[in-house]
Symmetry: C2
Subunit: 318 residues, 2 copies
């Protein structure tokens, strides 16, 4: 199959062709690059929603319920599930199987799990390319689902149009600390499992935290708090409405363009980091490097001087 | 203060001098580099213990209790608390204050909080340098405390000699998924809050998971499960013993050298990534880049071609 026919098939929504390109991206095959270049002019139409929350928040169940809501509205949904469960093995097959059960036979839903591997932090190296592919395929909504606190969320905030932060009642002490960082990326708070004890207290805590933001601009978006019980499909309509509201707010305040620019810049940053990381890997596999490493373990050289050597090697590589 | 006197003071254990160098490292000041080079030959003596666990695991309380145990044994302790609570503000001041209360007046304890910022994943860019500084100061034990699943843990595994993974009973469904990734880095499992319901079940689950490892080498380390109630200082002696056992196992199996080599290599990787990231930041602040970004938002160029341009700019920089 030529690259031309591959991109043509992807633009026509062919999931097998998309899967093929995604594998090429994962394997860093040179051909993938040309296909992504060809797809790019056809992107920029999908609306990207980030789902982030701690383990135990019922996030996957919520994503499943949200997909159902989107499908009822005849919206096509692509899902990228960033799965940190297997940092060493690099696989996320089980996750795919579990998540796909309900929507496996629905042509309007495409689910792809991504293992977080390598040295690039939570959002895996290939995620930006996956977003581009799903976007070019014409999915209306792209969901990026991730576990974790910290860097993952920041990365998602830069990729997504609307960021959902999922909390559950009664998670204990440290959650307070987590919330502080989450505060700054949440466009919408979701209290899932809201039939559990403590849901109202959590709502009050979130509202209190939001009221502590100093001098918000008069026209700033105020993150709403939505209660859901994903297992009973409860609150999903409300959640969808709030996402629509945020989307309207973004377009009214002309920030979608600014977000699009930030997103592209972030995407490019991830591409560059991926390439530099690959070059670094090659430099660190060289014989010259192994000799340097011996000198280092004997403390005959320092890590900082060794780093200079590697950077020079990376710069020399064509 | 000259660089020479700064490093001399740090080697003598002067905490103010150390704090000063740490700030220079945080701010990426050129002088920091020479000081780190000078300190490196004096490192390699500290024993590094990673504490990782989800929010709600009572990890900070456990670290505090562990510090007390170390101090009772007259061991000096340095702590690096990787704090993802404030990804945008870059500060972790509150964390320091809370954590330092008990040990604030103890000269044998040094606690440094690090915010996770930038694009380098969970283990902040400056962490390797902080480990070096604490090591050179002569701390016997260096604790690296981190929240999170996935990349953070992998990064810690590469820096620490012994990795503790902290779990709590009754965290619900998704925790299973988390454990799969954690399995591979844990040298010791800690069930904290072990007076909570479900502690025994969690222990059985962990044991079951470990029994699923296929064909472990006969002399492989078998991660023990330790029960603690950090708030009551319960189980800390046991935990300390298990760490000592793991340390002895490492030295007996001659793997401490292999770990030391991996650690230096990982350290250098982080230094290189930090430098490349800084160069990338400078390239993305240039006027040439802003023009390119305009072309991109009009889809007149592609992110992958733009990435090539940036990599060329980074390579050209001296």
């Amino acid at each position: 199959m030529t690259d031309d026919s591959l991109t043509a098939r992807i633009l026509a929504g062919d999931v097998r062709a998309a899967g093929r390109l995604m594998r090429q991206v994962d394997d860093q095959r040179p051909g993938a690059r040309a296909a992504l270049d060809a797809l790019f002019p056809h992107t920029g139409h999908a609306y990207i929603v980030g789902f982030t929350g701690n383990p135990g928040s019922g996030k996957s169940t919520l994503v499943n319920a949200f997909i159902r809501t989107c499908r009822q509205k005849d919206l096509r949904v692509g899902v990228i599930a960033i799965d940190p469960t297997s940092p060493y093995s690099g696989g996320a097959i089980l996750g795919d199987r579990i998540r796909m059960q309900e929507h496996a036979l629905d042509a309007g839903v495409f689910i792809r799990s991504v293992a977080t591997r390598g040295n690039l932090g939570g959002l895996s190296r290939s995620t930006p390319a996956l977003v581009q592919i799903l976007d070019a395929m014409g999915y209306d909504i792209i969901i990026i689902e991730t576990v974790g606190v910290g860097q993952d969320e920041v990365d998602i905030a830069r990729v997504a149009d609307t960021n959902l932060v999922i909390a559950v009642p009664g998670m204990g002490d440290d959650i307070q600390a987590t919330k502080a960082g989450i505060m700054e990326i949440a466009d919408i708070f979701v209290i899932n499992k809201s039939d559990h004890p403590g849901a109202d207290r959590l709502r009050r805590e979130l509202k209190t935290m939001m009221s502590l933001v100093e001098n918000p601009p008069a026209d700033a978006w105020k993150p709403p708090v939505v209660h859901t019980i994903a297992t009973e499909h409860d609150g999903l309509e409300k959640l969808f409405e709030k996402i629509e509201l945020h989307r309207a707010w973004l377009s009214e305040h002309d920030r979608q363009d600014a977000r699009a620019k930030r997103r592209i810049e972030h995407l490019i940053r991830l591409i560059v980091q991926g390439e530099l990381d690959a070059r670094l890997g090659r430099a660190m596999s060289s014989a010259a490097w192994r000799a340097e490493l011996e000198a280092l373990t004997e403390r005959a050289d320092t890590p900082w001087r060794a780093a200079d050597l590697l950077i020079e090697m990376i710069g020399r590589e064509e």
